[in-house]
Subunit: 563 residues, 2 copies
Amino acid sequence: MSRYTPPLRDLQFVLHELLHVTDELKALPAHADIDAETINAVLEEGGKFAAEVLFPLNRSGDEQGCTLDKAAGQVRTPQGFKDAYAAYVAGGWPALSCDPEYGGQGLPIVVNQCFYEMLNSANQAWTMYPGLSHGAYECLKAHGTDEQKRTYLPRLVSGEWTGTMCLTEPHCGTDLGLLRTKAEPQPDGSHRITGQKIFISAGDHDLAANIVHLVLARLPDAPAGSKGISLFVVPKYLVNPDGSVGARNAIAPGAIEHKMGIHGNATCQMNLDGAVGWLVGEPHKGLAAMFVMMNAARLKAPDKPADPIIVHPDVRKMLLTARAYAEGGRALAIWTALLIDKELSAAEEDDRREAADLVALVTPIVKAFLTDNAWIATSHCLQVYGGHGYIREWGMEQYVRDARINMIYEGTNTIQSLDLLGRKVLGDNGKRLKKFGKLVQDFIEEEGTNEAMQEFVNPLADLGDKVTKLTAELGMKAFGNADEVGAAAVDYLRVCGHLVFAYFWARMARVALDRQAGGDPFYAAKLHTARFYFAKLLPETAGLIRSARSGAAPMMAMDEALF
Amino acid sequence: MSRYTPPLRDLQFVLHELLHVTDELKALPAHADIDAETINAVLEEGGKFAAEVLFPLNRSGDEQGCTLDKAAGQVRTPQGFKDAYAAYVAGGWPALSCDPEYGGQGLPIVVNQCFYEMLNSANQAWTMYPGLSHGAYECLKAHGTDEQKRTYLPRLVSGEWTGTMCLTEPHCGTDLGLLRTKAEPQPDGSHRITGQKIFISAGDHDLAANIVHLVLARLPDAPAGSKGISLFVVPKYLVNPDGSVGARNAIAPGAIEHKMGIHGNATCQMNLDGAVGWLVGEPHKGLAAMFVMMNAARLKAPDKPADPIIVHPDVRKMLLTARAYAEGGRALAIWTALLIDKELSAAEEDDRREAADLVALVTPIVKAFLTDNAWIATSHCLQVYGGHGYIREWGMEQYVRDARINMIYEGTNTIQSLDLLGRKVLGDNGKRLKKFGKLVQDFIEEEGTNEAMQEFVNPLADLGDKVTKLTAELGMKAFGNADEVGAAAVDYLRVCGHLVFAYFWARMARVALDRQAGGDPFYAAKLHTARFYFAKLLPETAGLIRSARSGAAPMMAMDEALF
């Protein structure tokens, strides 16, 4: 069975030997009394909790997931999560680095960071329940009224109640300026809040007696955009004057998202139907208040209307990466299949052998380079969807999961790389590689005087030279030590993959240059994609070559027992 | 709703404009009659099949998965898979590039490749059912007796029956020399085969009337290792003399693996309990026969006893990558948390501001660089497990799925990169970056005369210079065009992440060098990991800097309509 071993030794190394945290902390008035023994003892106990209580629930939590009793408006967490949370509260863990004024233990953030590393490593889905509380605590502490602080902070610090942050809505993700949830002021100073929120982590659960939702919404007189957003505290259960839990508030989970992972955490759609809430901080300044705990970076142009995401260079970069890899891979795969037809059916034995040599050479590249690229490309495409990419409903995460197996089939891509470098290249003294090099060389010579092709031909020629040199260097090294092949092979295959792609992208650019005058946008797109490939993807070879040249010692010098 | 659009235009571009396949194929006697119209018509029909029949079953297949009726020894595929397969057979698709002698249409492999690209894109899990048949077809065609060919090939070509390849066993993955399944010769020339196979793709299903299993096993007199492995054909149902399907053979699925993806394909454990099989090819030469269709590369040292995988340089590379990222990330995260303590609690305002500036600078790096690294590291660790990494049982694939969300939280890692480059660095004219640079510079000067530290200090200093130059260059460009920030930001953040990691790995190496004399293996491992980091991971910056410097045009020049 797998287990989680808290990295206590390494935590202590970083804390005490590298950063000398006790000296640093003692210089801070709030932590003048800290000592290494206390820190180590806390982390040792915390590590036990992570390893013995949380880790055993990690896999079962993934398998069981959360369920929603829609009639009751209540989420049930996986078996054991509730008991683990009770133990967490009983151990005083939520209070670790909270303010003593509200019942906290006042330990430094740096201790909490080490503790949370262990919780997250042992069970990421579970840890998000208490993890979200901390945002609500910080936000109310910074912006709440005295009454709000008295009402909520001690309960968040003790862990009796948890918190959430309700930001995203179905029609707006990163750009919160678009949100629509409304807050109607009431004569008693409260507000009635109505709207729908999505992607609310730990949005509902059965771990704690109450949930303190922090909700972004618009007041009736709010300006448009992100400068018209206010922050409200909306408890799942209203709080009686004596501080006890009262009637259910009109905020409830409408659905649990089905996700690629962290199944143990309930990512909820939350419906607010005239829920009672109270303003936190000033009207229309809710985003600033919320971003006490979140990075405000997502507000790029807060007063302009929303842009379609295709205007963002990095969105285009992710899409063009997928496109360049797909179209380059298609050209290589079809060319290889045509070579197989020649290998099988050419009239002359020489032609069959020539084709067979090239097929043997590029087969491991087709297998490994294309499947590694598919993993990169599908992950990029998931990222373009933002949070929606992680939700099963949109279908994107399936492509990522499905693509992962192709790097393992036929003995893993590492084995393909050993086949390429060890057998196909070094095994015949580079003869097959030279055959492919001849094709590249012929093309470079043909296009040598074609001005428009220089942007493609020059980097292709440069990479060809580098592969020749790298191959010779690796051949020499391998002569003395077979591990040098195994150490360089994966980097080497990827460099060769780029050489082959550079050759095909240059050839495709040549065709597109010839034909673009006709105005067919297909050729314009092909040419842009070729330029993108050379500018943004081919440069990866610079690092790969350096890594390949650095040899086997960085892996092999370390004693097996130290792994 | 999402849809699949067959890339017919791009397929035609590659086939006809780039590779001129009809000219090439006409030169091959077997394909002298081919013409472009036929190829295009086949692909157009094939694209329709992929888009209209297979794609609609892609998501439902993932959701439903396969089920095993263990008593009947029978797998049920997801709803619609069987009808789709019937349509595939009725359309004559299995025969596309098969030999006309056995009922095939004799079309070139290159056409089949284009067709299969579309099938796999539309529904990878479904496509593996007929995809596996092709391996069995090729293998029997190359090595079967005339009777075996007559019995099996026409049915595999028509698609009436499908095939599998039964290689892997519970105790041996890549290294097939270890396999144990036994074949006992019978007086009638058949064999009785007993053993267990795992990871058998399309191992059982309800799509076809029979399944032709190709099974690797050992004869009683077999030499040890991979030179003692023979190949047998073992049909799910025995075949009557008239070619009709007869009694059930003693080969049956024992379980379906629960996998990260391709849920629609039944990856089976297969139990053989004296199943009747017939030798294919020569005794003890089964691996060569099987590898007609598979890459023989996985046999590295076929006659030696199996090595533990830790001897392989690339396995060590994957493990050390995970380790270097985890330990580097831990040091950075703890250092940042300590800075937050200073920001909150330092006695002097200047000290608080100094800490706050550094926290603001490194926050997007902590968020984005560490979560991108976690995705890389978890995927590497899955790969170390080989096929087992893809199976839910081992728990590794959950870490990959769980890790993926962290790149999206807080407005995606792209937004973090805009925050770093746009606000934190260029937004204050590099003042915060210079504060971090000062720390790096001080360390370099301190260690300037320490011989043992030069291997760490030199690349750190070099990268520091490069970041300074890159920052200045991007600042100038951004002045003229805001898209230059968005285009470079993701690469830039990763370069800065490596600068920070190089600084911490150098500092950790310094501590380890001081203390290693005591013989504590912890310091030896730390030092090895530091060296690994500088040799194998830091070089990524070379490509990233080139990509960052290539600017916004490669993304922005392409018209929005062309995406």
